[in-house]
Every structure is written in structure tokens, then in C-alpha cells.
Amino acid sequence: MQTKQPRRPGELVFNLAMVLGSLFLLWSAYGISGFEALSAPGAVPLVTTAVMVVCGGLILRDTLRKSATTAEKLERDILPLPVIVTILAILAYALALKPLGFLPTSFLFLTGLIGYLRGGSLLRAAIQSLLIVALIYLVFRIVFTVLMPPGIVPEAEIIAWVKSLFAGGGT
């Protein structure tokens, strides 16, 4: 019997991966303390992973029952280019955050991503990014005092210089 809703592209692979992942976790949970006791540290992990295996199996069975004919396409409806580009951009941002620092990395990330997603002028994206980064920096670094990696920007010196300006103005 086939259910009405067709199978989405990649759904079978994902659900199969869930079952295999759950089986691996079940095996790993068994390794914690085996069937030593109902109050053993591995008891709850063993039950939760067993539940995952059973549910994963049922989900996979339902997926197999679905019709494979669908108008959806993997590259359009599941993993369109903007999603891939965005994931890679976040990864690149995370990698560059420490060596380059928060300010330049955030500016480049926003300019690149806004420019790509919105299209049009890169200059406009750069101006928008500059304003947004300045606002985020002001709110989170100065007001909330959240520590961000300074990287290549001599942030401490800049903050000290700004503070000295205000201190000078106050006297």
C-alpha cells in the first residue's frame, strides 16, 4: 500500500542514515555497562537508542511505502545552491573568525552573503554590512561586553583610545 504523499528526494537516504546511526549508537550504549542493572549508567542510553532504532525502522518502512515519483528535485527543493553556499560561508566564517578577528570576518561574511543572496550592487551590500557590523559590535561588544576574537584588528588599543577620548573630554 502506498501513502498519498510522495517521497522527497534524499528522504530514503536520510532515513536509512538515521537507522544506521541509531544502530551504531545502540551498540555504543550497550558498551557503557551492558545489561548490568536497570539502574546502571547505560540503562537510559540503551533504552533511548533502542527507541531510536525501532522508530527509525518504522519511519524507514513508511518511507519505502511512499511513491518514489515526485516533481521535486534534490538540487532545487532540498539542497538548492543558496543553501550550499550559505553553509560553506558559515564554515568559512568560523574558520577565519580567530585568525582574522570578528570585525573583518563579519564584514566580509555579510558583504559576500548579502551580495550573493540579494544580487545587485556589491557596494550597496558592503555599506549595509558595514552598518550592521558596527551596530552588532556596539551592542554585543561594548554594551553586552561579549568577548570576540580581535584577530588582526588592534581592538584593545582602539577601545582604549576611544575611552581616552571620552576621559579627555570629561576633564
Binding site: 537510559v44 538548492p80 543558496p82 550559505t86 573568525l97 563579519s106 552588532i136
Partner: protein, 498 residues
């Protein structure tokens, strides 16, 4: 006297008052802008406020929560896009009203009734939570265990397309929550011999990934959807109009409070049930439901705002979150060294009354901000998503980094973000994952306590459960949820209906 003193904490402290106002104001925008969610905002906020004192951190989060649930209705009315799941029912009649040029009136009605609903919810929280906490002190470990299971099952069964996927997601969350060293025996669990996993997976990284990154990636699918512009007329509703719908509003506020107080259910479910209630009790609406009936706005909006305070009842008295946002707030309280549950009311009653008072203030600010600045609001909501989404993603990365100044958390966040994105695409609900992570410790500890006290005997545990009225009710509720989703149940009820 002590209660009044505690209630006055946020009222007399200008910083706390400002944070509640700021949070409510920001929450209205967060809730209203499609692509931003209250859950996402609160989860990102934890990472920025974890070094603060608990009062200011909570004040800001409560403001965002209260404002956000209300804010979702704005875009539901103006754009037919509910800014939050709790506003889905509001769009059914709100948007038809806007199409008739009554957007201002619809927003005005929604603001006033949200205030009424919010107020009734807060009143219920103040009255019933202390009573429940007194009762909850007598709860046995098995009751907590069953409550935790019930919460995950309820979220799983109501928030996704299938109960099985909900249970899978909940079990995954419990599994994630047990990664690291077992606190009782110091046995390693799911660490695979790596040092990085001994301290467990960062709860904040999981949360930001699942609610910030995955939601951001999902929004990329609808990046170019056109923005519908609306004209705004009269905003403040007339008193006769409010008075006319007050009885319905009182009924649906009560529904909202009760639904919100059930572990695992939130404003979205409360709003839908209240809408259904309104369609049944309103015999002759001036305008039919679905075509711009005012009753169709009153019911869901009173209910979803009442549910906000309702959700705090199980959170503060039992340590069980009422919905995803209160699950995150429990995380925030843990981070601040507090332990929500019946003993919180005994050990730190100031915290409870502070929350009640903050909710009441946020409700008042919601009324003020709700009835002002709507024309400016319309402009901001029209901000292109291509600009908004990169900012959300940037804040998510910075938020995950800020927790422990570690890039490892950023990679976890990204991993969970991508994983959560695929889960959403294939119909797995994410709420139970977070609830599972939060409740993992409670489930594990109470299961072990319960089974040890019953001498490691499943039979004795079952016997004890069936002998205690509370345990029995909880046990049969869990069983009922399971059975109600089986094909057999469907067959029986179809036959009866036929």
C-alpha cells in the same frame, strides 16, 4: 509582605524595567518578522547573557517571549504570513480583515485581547503555581520520570507530522543530553574516547544550531517571496467592540492557560484549540469565520498570550518545560545555577514572584508598544530577507562562540544546524530534540532513583505506579498517547463515526 517586595523588584529597578521594555519591544519585531522566531532569539540570547546576573537575563528573555508571541500576529494580519506558529490561527481571519482595509482595527483588537489573555494567564500562574508546587513536593521519582516522558511525547505528537518521528526526535535529544561523564558513577557515555565529548555536547550549541541555523537555511527556500503592502487605518478598538467579545476572550484565555500549562504544549496548539472553540460557541458571527470574523482574532490571541504564563507553571513547579521557549529558559536557569522545580518555590520564592511581576510588566509594555508605531513597523517588516538572514546566521555563530570562546561550539552548532535543516525537510519536529536534551538528566536521575527504590524490580515499579493515583494517571496518559496514534484506535473511531 515578602511577596509584594519580590513583586516590586523589577518595578523599582530602572535597569530591569528597561530590559523588560526593551525585550518586549524587540520581541514584537522578532515575533513579527518571518524568519525570526522567539525560540531562535531566546536561544541566541542565552549565549550573550550567561555572564549577567540572573534577574537582568530573565527580564530580557521574558520580554522577548511575551512580545514575540504577540508580534507573530502582526505579519499574520498584514502579510498572511504568521510570524510565529502561535499566530497561524490569527491569519485565518486577520488577513481577510486587512484585505478589506481593516488592518489597523485588526491589529488594535489583537493587541487589546492579547493583553487581556496575557493578564489572565499571569493571574493563573500566580494563583495555581504555588499550589501545584506544594503538591509537587510529594511527587515520587517515578512521577517525575513519567512527567518527562509525557512532555516529550506530547511535543512529539503535536508538533510534527507523525508521533513516531516525534518520539525519534525526543529519544535523540535524551541521547544527546547523556553524552559525557555520568554524574553519578563517572562512567563515560557516548564519548568514543575523545576528550572533547567528556564534558558533554554544549546545550547552547545544539539549540542555536537547531533553531537559528536550520531555520535560517529553511528560509532560503522562500527568499524571493513577494512582500504584500497594507494600508493602516484606525488602530485603538472601540470599547463596545472589546466589551462585546470579552466573554469569549475570558473562555479562550482559560483554554490558553490550561493548554499552555500542559507539559510540552504551547501557544500554537492553544490558539488552534481556542479558534475551534470560538467557531463552535459563536452562533451568529457578524462576518463568517475565515472571512474576517473578529471572534477569529479574539480566540487565538487571548489563548496564545495566556499560554505564555501557563507554560511557566510546569516549568517553575515541576522543572518540566511547557514549550520550546521555556525549555530554553530552563537551560538559562541551569546556567545561572538555579534548579527549577518544586524546591525553587521553597528556596527562592523571590525568583518566582520576580518572573510573575516581569510577565505582568511585559504584558503592559506589549499593550503600549502594540498600539503605537505600527506604521513604522510595517516598513521594518518589509526588510528584505536576503539582508536579514545573513545577520541571523552571523548572530548565531557569534552566539555559539561567545558561550565558552571556543570554535568547537561553533562547529557543533553548524553540524546541528545542517542536521536540523534535513530533519525539518523530512518532517522531523525539532522541539522534542531540545526538550529531550533538557529533560535528559531529569529522566535519567529519576529513573535510577525509582528503580533503585523498587529494588531493581520492574514488577515492583509497575505495581507502585498503579497503586499511586498520580503515577497511575501519568502512566495511563503516556499509554493513551501511544494507543491513540495506533491504526487500531483509528479503526475503532472510524467505525463509531460511521
Amino acid at each position: 509582605m515578602e511577596i509584594i517586595q519580590n513583586l516590586l523588584i523589577p518595578v523599582l529597578d530602572l535597569q530591569l524595567l528597561s530590559l523588560i521594555a526593551l525585550g518586549t519591544f524587540a520581541g514584537i519585531y522578532v515575533g513579527a518578522i518571518p524568519g525570526l522566531s522567539v525560540t531562535m532569539a531566546v536561544s541566541i540570547l542565552i549565549s550573550f547573557t550567561f555572564s549577567w546576573d540572573v534577574y537582568p537575563a530573565l527580564a530580557l528573555m521574558i520580554g522577548i517571549y511575551m512580545g514575540g508571541v504577540y508580534g507573530g500576529s502582526r505579519t499574520a494580519i498584514l502579510l498572511n504570513i504568521p510570524g510565529a506558529p502561535a499566530a497561524i490561527a490569527t491569519a485565518l481571519d486577520g488577513y481577510p480583515m486587512a484585505q478589506k482595509g481593516l488592518a489597523g482595527e485588526a491589529i488594535g483588537v489583537v493587541t487589546v485581547v492579547s493583553f487581556i489573555g496575557g493578564f489572565i494567564g499571569i493571574l493563573a500562574l500566580a494563583i495555581f503555581a504555588p499550589l501545584l508546587a506544594d503538591f509537587a513536593i510529594r511527587f515520587q521519582p517515578r512521577d517525575y520520570f513519567l512527567l518527562g516522558v509525557l512532555g516529550i511525547l506530547l511535543v512529539g505528537s503535536l508538533s510534527g507530522e507523525s508521533l513516531v518521528k516525534g518520539i525519534f526526535a525526543g529519544a535523540l535529544g535524551v541521547g544527546l543530553g547523556s553524552v559525557g561523564m555520568d554524574p553519578l558513577t563517572f562512567t563515560e557515555r557516548f564519548t568514543f574516547g575523545t576528550d572533547g565529548l567528556r564534558a558533554g555536547v554544549s546545550f547552547v550549541a545544539v539549540m542555536i544550531g537547531m533553531f537559528g541555523i536550520s531555520e535560517g537555511l529553511m528560509q532560503l527556500h522562500t527568499l524571493n517571496s513577494p512582500v504584500i503592502k497594507q494600508k493602516i487605518g484606525r488602530i485603538v478598538p472601540s470599547w463596545p467592540l472589546v466589551r462585546k467579545h470579552l466573554p469569549l476572550g475570558m473562555q479562550t484565555s482559560s483554554i490558553g492557560t490550561v493548554i499552555g500549562a500542559l507539559p510540552g504544549t504551547g501557544g500554537d496548539i492553544a490558539a488552534l484549540i481556542a479558534y475551534d472553540h470560538a467557531t463552535r460557541v459563536t452562533k451568529n458571527p457578524e462576518v463568517p469565520f475565515g472571512k474576517g470574523a473578529v471572534e477569529g482574532l479574539v480566540a487565538p490571541e487571548t489563548a496564545n498570550n495566556a499560554a505564555v504564563s501557563g507554560a511557566f507553571i510546569p516549568m517553575l513547579t515541576l522543572g518540566i518545560p511547557g514549550d520550546a521557549v521555556t525549555a530554553i529558559m530552563i537551560g538559562a536557569l541551569f546556567i545561572h545555577g538555579l534548579n527549577p522545580g518544586p524546591m525553587l518555590m521553597v528556596d527562592q520564592p523571590d525568583m518566582f514572584w520576580f518572573i510573575v511581576s516581569s510577565l505582568a510588566l511585559a504584558n503592559c509594555f506589549m499593550l503600549i508598544f502594540g498600539l503605537t508605531g505600527i506604521r513604522a513597523f510595517v516598513k521594518i517588516v518589509e526588510m528584505p530577507r536576503a539582508v536579514l538572514l545573513p545577520v541571523i546566521l552571523l548572530l548565531s555563530v557569534v552566539g555559539a562562540y561567545a558561550v565558552s570562546n571556543s570554535l568547537t561550539d561553533v562547529y557543533w552548532m553548524l553540524g546541528f544546524g545542517v542536521f536540523g535543516y534535513f530533519m525539518k525537510l523530512y518532517g522531523y519536529p525539532l522541539g522534542p530534540v531540545i526538550l529531550g536534551v533538557i529533560l535528559s538528566r531529569l529522566l535519567d536521575d529519576n529513573w535510577r532513583r525509582a528503580i533503585i527504590s523498587d529494588q531493581e524490580s520492574l514488577w515492583m515499579l509497575l505495581k507502585g505506579t498503579l497503586m499511586s493515583p498520580l503515577s497511575a494517571v501519568l502512566f495511563f496518559s503516556v499509554v493513551l498517547i501511544f494507543v491513540s496514534k495506533t491504526p487500531l484506535w483509528g479503526m475503532i473511531f472510524r467505525k463509531r463515526a460511521a
